[in-house]
Amino acid sequence: MNGLVQRLNDDVLSLFAAIGRFSRFTLAVVSGITIEPPRRRVILPLMIEIGVRSVAVVLATGAFVGMVLAVQIYSQLHKIGSETSAGPIINLSIVSELGPVLAAIILAGRVGGAMAAELGTMKVTEQIDALRTLGADPINYLATPRFFACLLLVPILTLYSDAIGVLGGYMMSVKYYGISDFFYWEQTRRYLARWDIFVGVAKSFFFGGAIGLICCYKGFQTEQGAEGVGRATTRAFVTSFITILVGNFFLSLFFNTLYSMMYMR
């Protein structure tokens, strides 16, 4: 019994220690922008890697999500003769939920995994120590630009994904299933508010920041050679994935409550 209590005690202590380490890391990353703003030669290649090179995968994800939503929603609405309602259901789902979440998950895999692997490799090959010997703060030099690149680019990529998702849904609903073009957009216009787009973008800021922080942190935590790099990469993705899903739930709850407070009085 004593052993169990001791173990529980140790687990709680190590959990708090981990939270403390991550909080300090977060503070160091965010404050890094004021200490030494990332230089153009550092941030530009990152923007290309994180942003430009992710466009294709994000567009493909968005398009197929939009199309498959149209297939499923049309088949259900067709049974009750309400096909024209497909527009707002598809577009609202894409803009406020599926677009941000799926784009973030894809980017956590593509960008986050790559960042954790790169930083992990730098750690085990002593490149991070080399940075310190040459007068650079590794968090400031490596994590801060990656965090801000993710924070800025994940929402932009999400908007791309949303746009192509909306287009995919439209193509399937109107061009393939033959729903009225006018009613499709008229119904969408009626039920899809700017607020929904704002919620989607706000969520993607959170997801972008979370991916940047978690994946850099896991990269810096890498130990023990190539095996450690693999482990760090997996942990970076899994932790980001869970954070995106859990975060999405709480953000949805928060924004719905906020909406009720602002507009439903």
Binding site: P45, E126, A130, L131, T133, L134, G135, A136, D137
Partner: protein
């Protein structure tokens, strides 16, 4: 030679670097157990010891990449073992470090690697940076590779670029972590010659960690043996060769004796 608390072969009363009773633990293993060492200005001290005995750990304490659990590390009257990380950049400006794996930045060209410290610590115009990079690469016998990426270089070339990067800011102290490990005997000797050349042209203090005795005898003005977390003997290469300490004698002779069965 006088025998003092920190070893033999002291060249002056004031050590440039002093490790005082340094303890360092990783997990449940005490890697350093009260290591003492004094390093004097202008000398090349070679730290020898078995693989995994903590030589690199000791070296990383000298530049505060690692901090001791107990004890102090003092560099030129500055207690670097307790200096804030933010203040260490100015101290590290006076050091150069050559890593075991060269640790070149993969995403940067050779020029960018060598120039990295120059960009961090100086405001030299691009032309001056180019001149220094070319000069340091010439010194390590690698002219004309500025545009190559680290992946295009052999192991020996990477070590040379690592040395060029370490000396770019003309540091007072250069730390070499296993500089000849993984190289063929000829390339290992080339690196030894380069260490001597850098020592002569830059007039630096050098600390070299190695288990290559040929290298230690060739480049060391003093040799220190690390064993079970402590410096057990310090002396000139001649004193080490004629040692009466059985552990040191076994190591420099490279004899297995009773070490076939290893306990972990």
């Amino acid at each position: 030679m006088t025998q003092d608390f920190y070893g033999t072969g002291a060249r002056g009363p004031q050590a440039l670097i002093r490790l005082e009773t340094v303890w360092k633990r990783f997990g449940s293993t005490d890697v350093l157990r009260g290591a003492h060492l004094s390093i004097y200005r202008g000398e090349t001290i070679v730290i020898i010891g078995e693989s995994g005995c903590g030589k690199s750990v000791l070296l990383k304490h000298i530049i505060a990449l690692l901090r001791p659990d107990k004890g102090r590390v003092i560099f030129d009257h500055i207690e670097i073992s307790s200096t804030d990380e933010a203040d260490m950049a100015a101290v590290r400006r006076r050091f150069g470090m050559v890593f075991q794996t060269a640790a070149l930045f993969d995403s940067m060209s050779v020029r960018e690697n060598v120039a990295f410290g120059l960009y961090r610590h100086t405001n030299f115009p691009e032309r001056r940076v180019d001149e220094i990079v070319a000069e340091k690469l010439r010194l390590v016998g690698l002219s004309g590779v500025e545009k190559k990426m680290p992946a295009e270089l052999s192991g020996g070339m990477k070590k040379r670029v690592g040395i060029a990067r370490a000396i770019a800011l003309d540091p007072e102290v250069i730390l070499y972590d296993e500089p000849t490990t993984g190289l063929d005997p000829i390339m290992a000797d080339v690196i030894n010659e380069l260490i001597l050349r850098v020592q002569q042209t830059q007039n630096t203090t050098s600390v070299v960690v190695t288990h290559d005795m040929k290298s230690a005898y060739k480049i060391g003005s003093r040799i220190a043996m690390l064993h079970q977390g402590k410096i057990i003997q310090v002396g000139t290469p001649e004193e080490i060769q004629n040692t009466s300490n059985p552990v040191v004698a076994q190591f420099i002779a490279g004899e297995a004796r009773d070490r076939i069965e290893e306990t972990v």
